[in-house]
């Protein structure tokens, strides 16, 4: 009952309930008008768009690679079956949860204030975002590994490092690779939004035409972003397939 009341209140809060029939009837017309203003796509100089794409990919790649490298040890500490003690376990879980629950934009604003406008702020944001995501999924992947090989390595008298790299990591590798490649795709997507707050990348190129209502130019940037995401997704899929097949 409480949920129903809250949902009803939420409808009012989002102004959905105050929409008149006239407002609703105007929506399709507004969409068509916007599409009309966006088409045909405007010209954007290659000298502006290519460096922006490159910067976006660099931010995404470096942020993801560093994030994955930090997430591996954090994932070990955050996995109940591998963590050396409860203090480290809860600390690692806390760090990973904190990185994940604070939204990207908040991290981006934070890093823009600390290191200034530009791709460094964006890269640091993506790094933290990757830690929040990959740290959790790596920990889960390590916990789900069959305990049999681990027991065998304990029986051999192998070191912790030997057990992890010989028994746990090979078994968790498919899941870790999937997570890492997904992090890369997410990072490219996120970097578009980050540009809107000045954290570098192709998003910064989108900000200007949107502010000045230059919709044809915005359309070109949006289509470029779409093409870039499709290419990254395809590449990521192929890399994933190639690694897992071997």
């Amino acid at each position: 009952m409480g949920l129903v009341v809250f949902t009803a209140h939420a409808l009012h809060g989002t102004e959905l309930s105050s929409l008149s029939l006239m407002d609703i009837a105007a929506i399709p017309a507004n969409i068509l008008r916007l599409i009309g203003e966006m088409l045909p796509p405007g010209q954007v100089e290659l000298a502006r768009i290519v460096p922006a794409i490159l910067e976006t990919l660099q931010m995404a790649l470096v942020g993801t690679v560093l994030g994955v490298l930090v997430s591996l040890p954090l994932g070990i500490l955050a996995a109940k079956s591998l963590s050396p003690n409860r203090l480290l376990y809860f600390s690692a879980r806390g760090v990973v949860s904190f990185c994940r629950t604070v939204p990207d934009l908040v991290w981006a604003i934070f890093f823009v204030i600390i290191v200034g406008l530009g791709p460094l702020a964006g890269m640091l944001t993506l790094l933290v975002d990757t830690i929040g995501f990959a740290g959790r999924f790596f920990a889960e992947a390590f916990e789900e590994v069959d305990s049999g090989p681990r027991e065998a390595f304990s029986a051999i008298g192998a070191s912790g490092g030997g057990t992890f790299f010989s028994a746990i990591l090979p078994a968790a590798a498919p899941s870790c690779i999937n997570t890492s490649m997904y992090c890369l795709e997410r990072a490219v997507q996120s970097s578009v939004i980050l540009g809107l707050v000045g954290a570098g990348g192709i998003g910064m190129l989108l900000e200007e035409p949107m502010v000045w209502h230059n919709y044809p130019e915005a359309t070109t940037v949006v289509l470029t972003i779409f093409a870039m995401l499709v290419v990254v997704e395809q590449l990521s899929g192929r890399i994933r397939y190639h690694i897992l097949a071997n």
Binding site: D146, G148, P149, E151, A152, F153, S154, A155, I156, G157, A158, S159, G161, G162, F165, S166, A167, P170, A171, A173, P174
Partner: protein, 276 residues
């Protein structure tokens, strides 16, 4: 090879103590590899799985551990390596009481014992050769023992020789998740022998195999153990294997040693009494 003096026991008369007990003089012999005294294990503070276990195994002897499901065989084997922590008692392996060892010393002691599991416990995504190579971690540490591609040539050759000895040299590069149950168990045996152990323990090593493959693997296993002159303690539900491959048979019932006898004095009918 056998433990020698035995005490007879008449189950029909209602006695409930061990049927046959190893002679104390043999227990304390210098060549004793495994010596268990007063071993107890209770799970969750209630379920008593092992009750006051005593026996010793001299060097080079092959001992079969038999008994009902839940009689404590696997727990006993795991307690011997402290994979399961005993509640009380002592387990002496090669003269060291493993219940008192620190973590580092315990790893060192485990390294001297090859352990073959029922489900082989290999790393599924890796090749047979890499899995065998991992056995070298009992003797060496560091990244060069973790990955086959950067392992020292000498170790790779030894792993290959171990695979050859179990008849799997032609499948060295095959991932173990593509091997049959019998082949996987042979890889596990090669891995255990790669440790260059002094003692080998095996928990129902052929339980998951069909009778033919089970006989083949067990024969190969015992052949390698005897060749190397190792001490063997293995759990088996296959009484025929116990009679054929063991020098001595220890039977557990409700966590107690109820039978301890040279295998050549037994037959299937007398062993089945333990399950009656």
């Amino acid at each position: 090879m056998n433990s020698g003096a035995v005490v007879t026991f008449d189950r029909a008369a209602g006695e409930s103590l061990p049927v046959r007990v190893a002679s104390p003089s043999r227990v304390l012999a210098e060549s004793t590899d495994i010596n268990i005294t007063g071993l107890c294990k209770t799970f969750d503070g209630q379920r008593q799985v092992l009750r006051d276990i005593h026996f010793s195994i001299p060097r080079g002897q092959a001992v079969a551990l038999i008994g009902h499901n839940g009689s404590g065989k696997s727990t006993l084997l795991r307690c011997c390596l402290r994979l399961v922590q005993p509640c009380s008692g002592a387990v002496s392996l090669l003269g060291s009481d493993i219940t008192t060892l620190g973590a580092r010393q315990l790893r060192g002691m485990r390294a001297k014992v090859g352990f073959v599991f029922q489900r082989h416990n290999l790393v599924a995504r890796l090749s047979a050769l890499t899995n065998v190579l991992h056995g070298v971690q009992a003797r060496k540490k560091g990244p060069r023992t973790w990955f086959h591609s950067i392992a020292p040539q000498k170790d790779r050759e030894e792993a290959m020789a171990q695979l050859h000895s179990v008849g799997l040299a032609n499948l060295a590069e095959r991932r173990v998740d593509g091997l049959s149950g019998g082949e996987s168990q042979r890889v596990a045996i090669a891995r255990a022998l790669m440790q260059r152990p002094k003692i080998v323990m095996a928990d129902e090593p052929v339980a998951s195999l069909d009778p033919l493959a089970g006989d083949e693997v067990m024969g190969l296993f015992l052949h390698r153990i005897k060749d190397e002159g190792l001490t063997l303690l293995f759990v088996s539900h296959n009484l025929d294997h116990a009679l054929r491959y063991a020098d001595r048979i220890i039977g557990l019932r409700d966590g107690r040693v109820e039978l301890d006898t040279p295998s050549k004095t037994e037959n299937l009918a007398t062993l089945r009494e333990l399950y009656g």
